[in-house]
């Protein structure tokens, strides 16, 4: 396993408001901001925290499916719209379904490591309320294997993929503990989102979230083993963060206390044509996370906070197991015992995660990095977790498709 050949930092993160059903500002029939707005708001949000946009050498824009949701391609050309100083600089677009954001950060890291650039701006976004969910499901199904899976697949393609995983988990570990843990995860996601003014579920005021989370599935209209509360919602949103070298930090006049340092990364991609080896395991996620653990010489006990890819409640449970945070089969009890709560043993997704904060698919990986940057630099406001200096690491897992394209990162405070 190769090690990082020089330090890489992340700083100046910014999230837009995550818009969609549940937000009071959202009305499906009223006009809403488009791609241009989100790129510019996120980009300006990051730039406002550095001394001069001139110092940005290049950039990456991460997005999954703008070509269908917004009928828009050529996204790199939106980047110069953020600031005149970005005109004619190099920008690329990265796509890996819901793992696009993670791959965007990975690309920026490689650029810095290569020495080609010192300061790389990464933006991740998706604007997907442009169509009803029934058509959005078609677009999102592009994260699966269209030729081989779509025709036989479910109307709600991805919810069904993870519903199948839930079904197999029910058989293996018993339905009740898994089902309850899924509802507990939903409860946690919403409780955390209520602390986060930018979260899609910030306005959620349901009193008994656990009972709501236990709503029996309705396969006639949705899928067999999941209810709608088990699913992340349809979200418009963008995030931005800047990846730098040590020289880059200096150029930007950013102090180390305002940056996080990359400890390791692990990228793992499975063949899109293959069925999962085991429906109760996120095999690719495990490989990605363990690559990162190996590169960084870190193990799960060293983690102080995590951002995992909870596109569905069952995925959260499986991701905790894949990351080695708990043994296989123990994810449910870990969640049900509230060990992942904001004040728990290992806070996971303290800003709400994909279910609570929202899931602008191609942007989520960047959002996760921004949130870890905030946590590890003490900027997380009401969502701030209490970090322990003995466990200074933040783990991020960003997943595209059904455990196909996974990017994992470990960060620590830059001063530590």
């Amino acid at each position: 396993m190769k090690k990082l050949n020089k330090p890489v930092y992340l700083t100046a993160g910014y999230n837009t408001l995550f818009l969609g059903s549940g937000r009071k500002e959202f009305h499906p029939k009223k006009p809403r901001p488009g791609i241009e707005h989100y790129v510019i708001e996120a980009g300006k949000g990051a730039i406002a925290q550095i001394n001069n946009a001139e110092n940005i050498d290049e950039g990456v824009i991460a997005n999954f499916m703008a070509a269908r949701f917004n009928r828009q391609g050529n996204l790199p050309a939106f980047m110069p719209a953020i600031d005149p100083s970005l005109l004619y600089k190099p920008f690329s677009r990265i796509e890996g379904a819901c793992g696009s954001g993670g791959l965007g950060i990975y690309t920026a890291i490689k650029t810095v490591l290569s020495g080609i650039a010192d300061v790389v701006l990464v933006i991740g976004l998706e604007v997907q309320n442009s169509v009803k969910a029934v058509y959005g499901a078609d677009y999102l199904a592009g994260a699966g294997y269209y030729e081989g899976e779509r025709k036989e697949g479910h109307a709600h393609f991805f919810p069904d993929k993870f519903s199948q995983r839930a079904g197999v988990c029910f058989k293996k570990y018993g339905q009740e503990p898994i089902r309850k843990a899924m509802a507990k995860w939903y409860e946690q996601a919403i409780l955390n989102a209520r602390r986060n003014p930018k979260a899609q579920e910030y306005h959620n005021s349901v009193v008994d979230l656990f009972t709501q989370g236990m709503t029996p599935p309705n396969p006639k209209y949705f899928v067999e083993h999941l209810n709608v509360f088990d699913c992340s919602k349809v979200t418009d949103g963008a995030s931005a963060i800047i990846v730098t070298s040590v020289e880059g930090l200096k150029k930007l006049n950013i102090e180390k206390k305002d940056a996080i340092e990359l400890v390791a990364f692990g990228i793992s991609v499975d063949d899109i044509k293959r069925q999962p080896e085991d429906f109760t395991r996120l095999t690719t996620t495990r490989k990605a996370v363990y690559k990162a653990f190996e590169m960084g010489g870190v193990n799960p006990k060293d983690l102080g906070v995590c951002e995992i890819h909870d596109c569905f409640t069952i995925t959260a449970l499986l991701a905790l197991e894949a990351a080695g945070i708990v043994k296989e089969g123990e994810g449910a009890s870990y969640i049900s015992e509230e060990k992942t709560r904001i004040d728990g043993k290992l806070p996971v997704n303290p800003t709400g995660g994909l279910i609570g904060f929202g899931h602008p698919t191609g942007g989520t990986g960047v959002r996760q990095a921004v949130d870890l940057w905030q946590q590890l630099t003490g900027k997380a406001g009401d969502c701030q977790v209490k970090m322990n200096s003995k466990r200074p690491y933040g783990l991020m897992i960003n997943m595209g498709g059904n455990d196909k394209t996974v990017a994992s990162f470990i960060y620590k405070p830059a001063g530590a």
Binding site: V134, D138, Y146, K151, H154, A155, H156, P219, K220
Partner: protein, 446 residues
């Protein structure tokens, strides 16, 4: 002939109207689903949409397209299974488009009654006018085969009268859908004497197929639904006349609308409901019913005045509410009609509304709006507490509301005692399912 056989060729008369268009949607959907079944592959399904107004027929097609898309979107999970054999359909959008295309294949639009000549079922949904309905049925009897069955959507005209005047020999049944037919679960089923048993059986089966709740009503003008609604409305109109002594005309209308909506916890106020149905339709139903109840005065000067002034309520083609007793912005009341000054007075203008609200007082403790209680699993207990408090309260509002409840109950009891309804459950069932009331008029609250 089975129900499926009858459904191969169906005609709707007055198809572009409010009720006709909803019935058209239900039947078009049913035919499309039938056609998708492998055993029906070679069958030819035709739904004849007949209306005198060609422009309205264009509107009907637009309505059917929008609704068919919505329906397909909602039932996408089943739709993918129904079209499983179609290898060329992959994405949800393709299944939805295919369903809409397949639904439209069955539609035949026209203005001529002759188009119905091969229909096995005819749904009559023309305006609520006895002469018109009789004339249409007579013509259709001559045009169609002698075993064609007729389903009339009349909400007030005795079916035996139509049967007799059009000489249909028991081939007609009352099949009264509620508005909008595609959404409302209730169908009032009126079986006249001498009905052919086959038609009766088929209509029961059809109700199940269309996922409707059929409630039987006896063949008395107005049946259960309008038997209650007309008298309920007349009570409010009489109260308006009484309140006119102490209140301005628009205040009196406003008060009775608010009493019926808020104090009685109904989905909408009585005047908003009359506007929704159409003031002219309301008048027409009263006129139909009046001769059958010589001991009652089923008539209203105010309703006649409104109609004579061409203030009719009802809906625009796009479904938005037309002005009637109330003036609307989209579907929200924004002003009340003052019959004396012949103009609408805005709810926000001056302090007449605050003054009226002050004089009637607030609903008593335990009040929750209809919308809130609708999904409340403890609504029965909550309603009981609320109405107990209402009875004890001494405000003018509480008094008017208690009188209204008593009147509504008396009307309902009369429907049972006079044999219009077979049971208390049937009357309550119509009000619960057709009018979306939270409680039946025959209750223990008064």
């Amino acid at each position: 002939m089975s129900l499926d056989d009858h459904l191969e060729n169906v005609a709707i008369i007055g198809a572009a109207g409010k009720m006709g268009s909803g019935i058209a949607l239900l039947l078009a959907q049913e035919m499309t689903v039938l056609k998708l079944q492998p055993e029906n592959k070679s069958k030819n399904y035709e739904l004849h949409l007949i209306d005198i107004d060609p422009i309205a027929l264009q509107g009907l097609l637009r309505y059917l397209k929008t609704q068919a898309i919505k329906l397909a979107e909602k039932s996408i999970v089943q739709l993918r299974l129904q079209y499983e054999a179609r290898k060329d359909l992959v994405e949800n959008s393709e299944f939805i488009q295919q369903f809409v295309d397949d639904l439209f294949v069955h539609l035949r639009v026209g203005t001529e009654l002759g188009n119905a000549r091969n229909a096995q079922f005819i749904f009559e949904a023309a305006s609520e006018n006895e002469d018109l309905k009789v004339s249409l049925l007579k013509q259709l009897k001559n045009i169609c085969a002698s075993d064609t069955y007729f389903f009339t959507n009349t909400s007030s005209i005795p079916i035996s009268l139509l049967n007799e005047k059009a000489a249909l020999g028991g081939r007609i049944i009352g099949y009264h859908f509620y508005n909008p037919p595609a959404v409302q679960k209730l169908v009032e089923l009126i079986t006249p004497e001498g009905i052919l048993p086959d038609l009766y059986q088929l209509s029961l089966e059809l109700g199940k197929r269309l996922r409707k709740k059929l409630i039987p009503s006896n063949d008395v003008a107005g049946f259960i639904g309008n038997g209650h609604f007309m008298r309920d409305g007349l009570h409010a109109l009489a109260e308006v006349e009484r309140l006119n002594k102490d209140f301005s005309p628009q205040q009196a209308i406003y008060i009775m609308n608010r009493i019926s909506q808020d104090f009685l916890i109904r989905p909408m106020g009585i005047f908003q409901l009359v506007d929704y149905v159409g003031i002219d339709v309301f008048q027409c139903i009263l006129n139909t019913m009046d001769p059958y109840f010589p001991q009652e005065k089923l008539n209203s000067d105010l309703v006649n005045l409104m109609v004579s002034r061409k203030i009719l309520g009802g809906q625009n083609l796009d479904g938005s509410q037309r002005d009637g007793f109330l003036k609307y912005d989209k579907s929200k009341p924004i002003a009340v009609y003052d019959p004396e000054r012949e103009k609408y007075v805005s709810l926000e203008e001056g302090n007449w509304r605050t003054e009226a609200d002050r004089k009637i007082g607030n609903p008593p403790a335990g009040f929750s709006p209809w919308r809130v209680l609708l999904g409340d699993s403890q609504k029965e207990e909550k309603l009981e507490t609320y109405f107990k408090n209402l009875k004890r309260d001494s405000t003018l509002g509480a008094q008017l509301a208690t009188d209204y409840l008593s009147k509504s109950k008396a009307i309902a009891e009369q429907l049972v005692s006079s044999g219009v309804a077979n049971s208390v459950e049937d009357v309550n069932g119509v009000l619960l399912n057709g009018f979306y009331h939270l409680y039946g008029p025959i209750n223990n609250y008064v």
